[in-house]
Amino acid sequence: MPSFDSSSGDGVVIRVRGLATRFGKQVVHEGLDLDVLRGEVLGVVGGSGTGKSVLLKEILGLIRPAEGSIELLGKDIGQLSEAERVAVQARTGVLFQNGALFSSMTVAENVMVPLKEHTDLPQALAAEIARIKIAMAGLPPGAGPKYPSELSGGMVKRAGLARALALDPEILFLDEPTAGLDPIGAAAFDQLIRSLQRSLGLTVFMVTHDLDSLTSICDRIAVLVDKRIRVGTLEQHLNDSHPWIHDYFHGPRGRAARHAEA
């Protein structure tokens, strides 16, 4: 749980080897390898249908890959018993694309769900920690007793982030965190993730299409092309001659984002 734990040896928190995914005859991934390093912000990009979200779900154990192994925090998630799986899940946090808040609960109750499930904190302390998380996610104090339907899209994402961070996870998974936010809100969200990542020492695995997020907060970028992944820094991808990668980073939007950054 503590983010400064250095128990994981070589510093790889997610290790994917030889991953293959097929839906019927459609092959999504084939021989995909990926290492995510402790403490980095990894952005995952790829065209529509290249299986970004599928990869995320496979790492989270929501979908079983056809072949290959996935190690999460040193444990092969295909081989885990139920109890071990829950233990690993408690060390990760996920922000789904639309927040996925439980609509029958208030924001504060949503954040307290993992605290109640995985710890034996007294109610009052759990409520206090939930309050801290809500504030750290950048929500006003009045947001706690509100229901998700009373929140704007940006606030729902922040609330989802607060729930994902409830247990001080080591790895934070984000699925399109800035989709549906206005540019100012998206930039603020990027900065929020960056500052939380620094203060909590998180590893962030972020599926995104937001070029601004990629250029401003990602340490490395993983590009899904040809059913595999190419990981590199922004500079390395800029010099890549693969047509899709070239078009992606050298297209008008890619250029604009880099100029904004420079």
């Binding site: 749980m1 503590p2 983010s3 400064f4 734990d5 609509s103 029958s104 605290l115 710890t119 034996d120 904190l121 007294p122 302390l125 206090e128 920690i129 309050r131 801290i132 998380k133 504030a135 750290m136 104090p141 009045g142 706690g144 007793p145 998700p148 339907s149 961070l165 247990l167 001080d168 500052s195 939380l196 620094r198 203060s199 909590l200 020492g201």
Partner: protein, 385 residues
Amino acid sequence: MAREGAWVEASRIGDGDQHDGGWLVTALGRWDLKAAGGLARELESFSPGDGRGPLRLDLSRLDAMDTAGAYLLARLADRLTAAGNAVSVTGVRPEHAALFDAVRKAGQPPAEPLLPPSHPILEMLERTGRATVDAAREGLDLLGFLGLVTITFGRVLLNPSRLRGRAVLFHIEQTGLNALPILGLLSFLIGVVLAFQGADQLRRFGAELFVVNLLGVSILREIGILMTAIIVAGRSGSAFTAQIGTMKVNQEVDAISTLGLDVVELLVVPRALALMISLPLLAFYADIMGLIGGAVMSYATLDITFGTFIRQLHGAVTLPHFLVGIVKAPVFALVIAMVGCYEGLKVSGSAESVGTLTTKSVVESIFLVIVLDAMFSVLFSVLRV
């Protein structure tokens, strides 16, 4: 490490008799979520210092700290400060500094309590009051909606080419034709049950044959139409709410409006009209099935042949009996369609509200159907029908 978990140690600063250096409080161990519960209890009774001297909270020897730990440390520092000590936090390790600062910043308690303390009885009174006002407002809204639909209906009647014939036929099929199997079976069974119970009682008086009168009058006047209305409310009223509600969630209703189309004319009028056509037909069908069920049971338990049954029925019921039942059908149909569509249009954004309002729509329309039925009974007794 000698000790598991997390704890604090307090010692005086300075040596010998020179104790004016104040207190040194050292946090040790792993200040994380796992330890937080016990730690919080322990810290409650932890109060070094005399409330005057300086107090130094040293974090340099922590093994680990997460948000919960940082929060507890910040709370400890705040509490000791509030007790009058001059607290200084020292030795924050660089890897802890950002988190500790973030938690201290986020942890500023709100200036005033968010919710005023409430009294359970007052709360119940308030809930009752709110529910009453909500119900009244809802009734008023529903009445307004009825007016809107009536006006739109009138407009469509004046200009029949605006009527969506296909939609009406589609909904007649959905609400009428497709309801035949379940409605038929249930009405038949109700007829069976009525005949059985009636026969049991009437046999004591040797008046077995009057079970036919009982069946004829009760089914034609009340039970046929009431069963039909309740089943249709559960089947079609809920479907209307769910259909329109889903369209609302998908913003289809907004799209209809922005395309210059009339939502009521497009969504509500065809449904209401279809139900007003199919419900009387269904009620007639339910009457027949109920009587058949009764006849079968009468034959089985009382040896009343079908011929005798029909002859007795002919004497027992008159046309008004049938009409009293069937005349209620279009009114019930309108109420069911109105409530179903109204609740559907009230759906807001979330998928959850579709479920809530669908339930509400069924409860409300069955409630209104029974209330209206009672009012019809009063009306008919005044009219001596």
